[in-house]
Amino acid sequence: MKLDAMRRYATTDIVDVVVIGTGAGGAPVLARLAAAGLKVVALEAGPNFDPARFAFDETLADEIYWTEERLSGGSTPEAFGANNSGTGVGGSTLHWGAFTPRADERDLRLHSETGMGVDWPLGYDDLRPFYERVEAFIGVSGPSQYPWDPGRRYPLSPVPRNGPAQVMGQACDRLGIRTADSPAAVVSGDFPQEGGALRRGCINCGYCHQGCRNGAKTSMDVTYLPHAVSNGAEIRPDCRVHGIDRDSEGRITSVIYRHDGVDHRQRCAAVYLCAGAVETPRLLLHLGLANGSGQVGRNYMGHVATQVWGTFEAEMRMNRGYPSSLISEDMVRPDDADFAGGYLMQSLGVLPVTWGNSVARGRGLWGRALTEHLNRYNHMAGIGINGETLPCDANVLVLADEVDAFGMRKARIDFGYSSNEDRLNAHATRTMTAIWEAAGATDIWVLERVAHTIGTCRMGRSGDSAVVDPHGRSFEISNLWISDGSTFPSSLAANPALTIMALALRSAEAFLGHPS
């Protein structure tokens, strides 16, 4: 994004807030605080990209993934990198799928409903106004009638259904499963971005996960960040935070970061840590910070993200179109559930390298069976879920013994399903398989998969059992705030990014002293 004309601060200036990370958690905070007239500086570990350079290629897109090594343990080790972790100005929103369901009201009080999981320290009514603000600002396309929330209105008409969405929709109709055009943070037509440039309508290229070339897909660098810069925020790319200074009362007085091999100190009055559910706890653990509760790193969650694939007689050419253009929320609370919570379903079109990786790694094909299956790429379509994961003691992020190039210990993340996830997964697998059978698919197979990075710095009402309060403020260090997926007490069935943005705005309002 264009940064050449932005306001700049000296490291000796005591800025009001340093925001660490420019993804879905940091960018809305930066924009809101800048709009309120605060002096704000964002430090981004990755580079600043011109989206026009993104090249419609999975391998060239490696530049927007966080590829520093993490160690994955537990009974269902999670893949990072391209699966869920980004780098660059805009963070993981450079590569996210832009699938923007809201949290289901019931998921926020799962413990009250089922005795399992936890309740959030806030309710749907606390979030709804922020959801609406975010959806209007970033330009979410969606159906005119949302079957699972009839009062909801999306600002833009839906993007077209691609092959997998069409075939899934027909089969779900036959089975009595309701579907709808997906809520997607992809503008279906040209969209004048408030505070930014005109965003061109989606061209159905299918490369959402490789970086959007024309700004149709919401990423922070075409939405909140230009807005922030237009209001005087400074964004410093290639700046990796690895330390802080504190005063005698324990308040943070400056943030230490490395740029071009040289350490700098930015003085500040407050810090927003927005580095995601892996790097945020990693930095806190590295610094021994804000962990009086012992909760930093605990209750790591990835979503149950199983996919079911099938081969179709007709050509799907699933690379074309918005990849997940059909949604069903019918399984958020299925009648025959033997588990707490539920799952969303979406149609799937996946590009060759990602799909081939699933076939070879996940399905386990090799030899002639692999190459013959790859040759049928144009006849494939998938369905995937995003399913509730309950917090669990065994799922934890710790610092490994190995260190990275900055001398910081690498993150080791242990993650595994418990019986609730196993039962949910079995239900989802049966449902998706039935849909593909109804659709006439052959060679139906199941890809076990974990998605997203959630938890590790949970919000709560007490510093004894939580890292931050319901607005993201540290219980321990009064000028430290956290805004990213790490604060989620439970995973929710919904994909996290929209909720991260809504929570970010809510947190920023609290920071500004506006009660909500």
């Binding site: 290629d57 159905n204 050509e315 790694r361």
Partner: protein, 488 residues
């Protein structure tokens, strides 16, 4: 003789072949071959230090022997294009010289190919300690023992007994060898590890093994020497033992003549990108950055012959595994293993690894050791010498989490680790495979055509539904857009 070796046998011919003998041999072991090549090639057979007429010359390390030969080659003035034939010990010296030549040594300019006969490999030669010790003992024994043992040595190293006068002369050669040179080779030279120094040579090479050669037969050549030769060809001489120039002069002469008549190989073959797909790549539907990347991927892999992290034998083993995981039909092939190797050397990753595995490079090396150890344990030969079905059986065991053999090498991976590594390998291989434009064409992928350079006017896709290709998609992917020959 002083340190100026003279050519022993010189036959004028259109091209020169410099020949290096085995342990206990001498330049005259090449006389039968030279006679057969009379008029076809000029044979320059040299005595190595400590042997034949050079028995008094010292300097027995592989490097010192190579220096000695380089001087002999310069003295022989081999001309613009010449070849090097090495037998057993002489083959290791020949490999060292070939590396120098490919690195641009001016005194070795023009070396155009290798013939390696029962060659001692770049890595330490497989030989039991007992055998080494016994050979070192009798070479300095009394005359009667020496004569008896030299005869046994010649007889043990032939598939069937040599005729006369070849046998007598071979025994005489052993007896006139310097015991110091003989011992130095057994103790040191044969155990010098030249594997990484020699690396992978690009010049054409014929690697010959006798099927009755216990230690340096075809299996050892395939497992230990062939991996060092990007354009090497293995030839088995049925029924022959170790003394190939003496046992099979006709076959050896014919292989030398054949190599000398071949055109030099310069490039590995890359898979062909079909013309309509190439036209799409060149069209304005593909952006400049992507076009450059796709065309670069379509070129043969330039790093294939210079492994940095893996040694050449490990790289050959990895190629063998990848061939089973991702068989490539047709003439050209993507050198997936070399690209994996390059990534391991660069130390770049994809953002995570299984906590149960060591770092990627270490995991790959340990996995290859485990496969090779299992092959030796179950089949008494290296993984490279197994047929595809035998290799598959080990990979199936790895995928299933079953032990590959009864014992895991101490520096290997256990069954669970092998399962995880094999998952990583499949992932690495398929991602490289599907980045190649020939693979994208094969699977009928049209996504590269989503748009050119102007981000404001990208065409993208207008049609996104079932069975509704855009006209340009159909023409770019004429051959690949149906289920194809594999059917369902």
């Amino acid at each position: 003789m002083p340190n100026s070796p003279a050519p022993h046998t010189t036959i004028p011919g259109p091209c020169t072949v410099v020949c290096l003998h085995f342990l206990g041999g001498s330049a005259r072991e090449w006389e039968p071959v030279a006679a057969l090549l009379d008029g076809v090639a000029r044979i320059v057979a040299l005595d190595l230090p400590g042997f034949g007429d050079a028995a008094a010359v010292s300097g027995y390390s592989v490097a010192a022997m190579a220096d000695h030969v380089a001087a002999g080659i310069a003295a022989a003035d081999p001309g613009g294009r010449w070849y090097l034939a090495g037998h057993s010990m002489g083959a290791k010296v020949a490999l060292a010289l070939a590396r120098r030549a490919e690195d641009g040594a001016p005194d070795l300019a023009g070396l155009a190919g290798l013939v390696l006969l029962g060659g001692s490999p770049p890595s330490p030669e497989p030989m039991s300690d007992d055998k080494r010790r016994e050979m070192m003992e009798w070479i300095s024994a009394d005359a009667e023992t020496r004569r008896r043992k030299a005869g046994e040595f010649v007889d043990q190293n032939t598939g069937s007994p040599l005729g006369e006068p070849l046998r007598t002369r071979a025994v005489e050669d052993v007896l006139r060898a310097s015991p110091a040179a003989w011992t130095a080779w057994l103790r040191d030279g044969s155990r010098e590890d030249w594997s990484r120094r020699i690396g992978i040579l690009r010049m054409p090479a014929v690697v010959v093994g006798g099927t009755e050669d216990a230690d340096l037969g075809t299996a050892a050549q395939k497992a230990l020497t062939l991996p060092h030769l990007a354009h090497g060809r293995l030839v088995a001489l049925d029924g022959a033992g170790h003394l190939l120039p003496l046992e099979r002069p006709e076959a050896v002469a014919s292989l030398i003549a054949g190599l000398a008549s071949e055109e030099p190989l310069l490039k590995s073959e890359a898979p062909t990108v079909p013309e309509p797909y190439r036209a799409l790549i060149e069209s304005d539907r593909v952006n400049t950055r992507l076009r450059a990347a796709l065309l670069a991927r379509a070129e043969p892999d330039g790093s294939a012959d210079r492994p940095v992290y893996l040694d050449p034998v490990e790289l050959a083993q990895l190629r063998a595994v990848v061939d089973r995981v991702l068989p490539q039909d047709g003439t050209g092939r993507i050198d997936i293993a070399a690209q994996i190797e390059a990534r391991l050397a660069a130390g770049t990753g994809d953002g995570w690894r299984f906590a149960k595995l060591p770092a990627d490079g270490a995991a790959y090396r340990a996995a290859l050791r485990t496969l090779d150890a299992a092959a030796r344990s179950v089949h008494a030969t290296g993984f490279l010498c197994l047929d595809g079905g035998e290799q598959d059986a080990f990979l199936q065991a790895a995928a299933a989490g079953e032990p590959l053999s009864h014992e895991v090498p101490v520096d290997g991976l256990d069954a669970e680790e092998m399962t995880l590594w094999f998952e990583d390998l499949r992932s690495d291989a398929v991602r490289i495979y599907l980045a190649h434009p020939a693979s994208l064409a094969r699977i009928g992928f049209s996504g590269i055509g989503a748009g050119g350079d102007d981000a404001e006017t990208l065409p993208g896709f207008v049609r996104v539904g079932i069975g509704d290709p855009e006209p340009w998609e159909s023409s770019a992917l004429q051959k690949s857009s149906t289920l194809g020959e594999t059917g369902r």
